[in-house]
């Protein structure tokens, strides 16, 4: 069957078992199954594509190294994504945070509502939103990813990135404000460029 690129692996379970047995063919099929989606996840967390590829590579090596520990092969989708997200968080702690330019956004006094946010986002496509995300400071981008896209709670995020929950919550709040500011600027930018 073409489901996993080779007829030998008809189900996800068979594919995972093949990987657990170290079969190169299974590993290639497994990689092909997840590569595009997971690199997309990495791009959301990274500052550049090169950085995303580094995270992606590290995550997949981990996936293959620890796939033997996956007890429920049918849950491989969420497991792989969790590995990728955690690798991105580790990368942030290890590489990004030490170099982070701690820009102060205290001056941002606006506190727009989610409705405003939604209205502003309405005209934006995926690429534009990704552009906004990339322009966020690293710590904010991480929180926005975890909270808005992955669906973690503030408490879970606090645990994942090893900060107090209040810090995680305030980071998201500031990130949302900054996003609106960027959207406003971006809109102006687009307007000016179009004009």
């Amino acid at each position: 069957m073409a489901l996993f690129g080779h007829k030998s692996y008809r189900t996800l379970t068979e594919l995972v078992v093949g990987c657990q047995q170290g079969q190169p063919r299974a590993q290639r099929a497994f990689y092909e199954r997840y590569q595009a989606r997971m690199l997309g996840v990495c791009v959301r967390y990274a500052r550049t594509v090169a950085e995303a590829e580094d995270i992606f590579q590290e995550a997949f090596v981990k996936v293959f190294a620890h796939i033997e520990e996956l007890d429920k092969p049918e849950s491989a989708d969420s497991w792989v994504k969790a590995v990728v997200v955690r690798t991105a968080i580790n990368y942030y702690h290890r590489v990004t945070r030490p170099q982070e330019n701690l820009t102060s956004y205290e001056a941002l006094s606006e506190s727009p509502s989610s409705d405003d946010h939604l209205k502003l986002l309405a005209g934006y496509d995926q690429e534009a939103i990704l552009g906004l995300l990339a322009r966020l400071p690293d710590a904010y981008r991480l929180v926005v990813n975890l909270y808005l896209i992955e669906g973690y709670t503030h408490a879970e995020i606090a645990q994942l990135i090893n900060v107090p929950e209040a810090t995680a919550r305030s980071r998201f709040s500031r990130a949302r404000q900054l996003l609106l500011t960027l959207i406003n600027h971006h809109g102006l930018q687009r307007h000016e460029f179009l004009g």
Binding site: Y31, V61, Q99, I129, Y147, E150, Q189
Partner: protein, 483 residues
């Protein structure tokens, strides 16, 4: 995934926002480049490969270690056996001394040698097996009175031959005392049983060897001298012995009547003298060693000529910090002044730098203006490269054997990165006795390696020129102190 954040705010105010973002990125995919795929599967292969490589190297080292261990034990056993035999030897009276003395020609005094030290030639399945110089106790010695007299006497006449018998009731074995007139003994009776004390002849120097060969050649050409005996006189000094193995060619030229002396072993079996590697005892070592080297890496770095990026902020970890640590385990053998070894270990390769790419983006500033910002990203590599390989070096003992210096080269291969590192290696070490064993000694010292080839950083941006320093800790069989 987690549920919505239901907290004191009541209904999640961000739920709609969340849905919008999730919808936006639900199908978001980015196709990976083939190079990324190659890197991942290359790394997977490399991770699997070291296991088999480690096993292979381990097995080779184990075999090597077993070989030298067996060799060492056998050598020790031989030494002990010979010494034991020596202790059991009974010196019996010579027979027919006077008659034999009258009949046999004497050997020129220039073929003198010492009997203080011997090289024994055990006969194993009819093949002469050379046993190395036992530079300690003589295998056979006369009694103190004999030594004092310099010869054995019977009926007041000196003779060169003794009849030896082991306490195990082995048949009598004739023994020549070189430098003394040959005398004929009673017929050799019995089968050629295992020779407890093989007949030996020792020669004290190279000249003696040459003389001996000349003498044999002369005897071979002179058919009238049928019972010529190889002999030499006792040494007058205790200088280090030199043993030379007579060429079989020379011996085979002897008439059979000479080669097989009456009632004795053939000459080829009687005499074997080795000159190989006899200049100095230190050149005779065939020994093994095992060495552990905790090491620290340093790097000189330069940019690749093919690099299109502008690199800034190139940093390095602090000297001797854990980020630079590695190790090397070597096992090998020594032969004369050379040593060859196999090596397995781990080296650190790092590269911390910022890549300023040739891409720019527009960024707004608080003053509502825009500025061009060059895109850049930071690279922080610090990888442990598993290395396997080997090397060869020459060593010298200095300071009366207390110190050892070595200089050589080695080649290491990293299966992880596929890179090869050739380097010069030098070191100096201090030999110390190992308190727990009389057989082995410890050698500790400093070691340095200078990379002749270059390594590349993972993103091929930097050329890395490694220099490694370490502390070597080596265990080896005890070497004699050089004088």
């Amino acid at each position: 995934m987690a549920s919505n954040d239901m907290n004191s705010w009541g209904e999640d105010p961000d739920e709609l926002l969340r849905q919008r973002w999730q919808q936006t990125f639900a199908e978001f995919e980015v196709q990976s480049r083939p190079s990324v795929r190659r890197r991942i599967f290359g790394q997977l292969t490399a991770q699997n490969q070291p296991k088999s490589t480690t096993w292979l190297v381990g097995i080779v080292l184990l075999l090597l270690f077993s070989f030298v261990l067996v060799y060492t034990i056998r050598r020790s056993d031989r030494s002990a056996s010979v010494q034991s035999s020596s202790a059991n030897v009974q010196l019996t009276s010579p027979t027919h001394t006077e008659r034999a003395t009258a009949r046999r020609p004497t050997i020129p005094a220039k073929h003198a040698t010492s009997l203080d030290k011997f090289e024994t030639v055990p006969r194993v399945n009819g093949i002469l097996a050379e046993q190395r110089l036992m530079n300690h106790q003589p295998i056979i010695s006369n009694t103190e009175s004999d030594v004092a007299k310099g010869q054995s006497k019977r009926h007041g006449t000196p003779t060169n031959r003794f009849r030896l018998r082991a306490k195990s009731n082995l048949p009598l074995t004739d023994f020549y005392r070189p430098g003394r007139p040959f005398v004929e003994s009673a017929p050799f009776s019995g089968t050629r049983s295992p020779i407890t004390l093989p007949p030996v002849v020792g020669i004290s120097n190279r000249q003696g060897v040459a003389d001996l060969v000349e003498h044999v050649d002369k005897a071979a050409s002179d058919s009238t001298v049928e019972n010529h005996v190889l002999s030499s006189r006792p040494a007058t000094s205790f200088s280090p012995l030199i043993f030379a193995q007579l060429q079989v060619r020379a011996l085979s030229a002897l008439p059979s009547s000479i080669r097989t002396l009456p009632n004795r072993l053939p000459v080829e079996e009687l005499v074997i003298l080795s000159a190989a590697g006899a200049e100095h005892p230190s050149r005779q070592y065939n020994q093994w060693f095992v060495e552990a080297v905790p090491l620290s890496s340093f790097q000189w770095m330069s940019t690749s000529s093919t690099s299109t990026a502008y690199l800034t902020q190139v940093n390095a970890p602090a000297a001797f910090s854990p980020a630079t640590w590695g190790y090397q385990i070597n096992g090998g053998v020594r032969w004369q002044h050379w040593q060859a070894y196999l090596s397995i270990g781990q080296l650190r390769r790092w590269a911390y730098y910022t890549v300023n790419e040739n891409r720019y983006r527009m960024e707004s500033t608080p003053s509502n203006s825009y500025q061009m910002v060059r895109e850049k990203h930071v690279v922080a590599e610090n990888v442990a490269l598993s290395m396997i390989g080997g090397g060869i070096s020459q060593y010298r003992l200095l300071g009366q054997g207390r110190y050892m210096v070595e200089l050589g080269s080695q080649v290491l291969y990293s299966p992880t990165s596929g890179q090869t590192l050739a380097s010069l290696r030098g070191g100096v070490g201090r030999r110390l006795p190992l308190p727990v064993s009389q057989l082995f000694e410890l050698q500790t010292g400093l070691m340095a390696e200078y990379g002749l080839t270059r390594l590349m950083s993972e993103q091929q941006q930097l050329i890395i020129h490694p220099i490694v320093v370490g502390i070597s800790i080596r265990v080896q069989p005890r070497l004699p102190q050089r004088k």
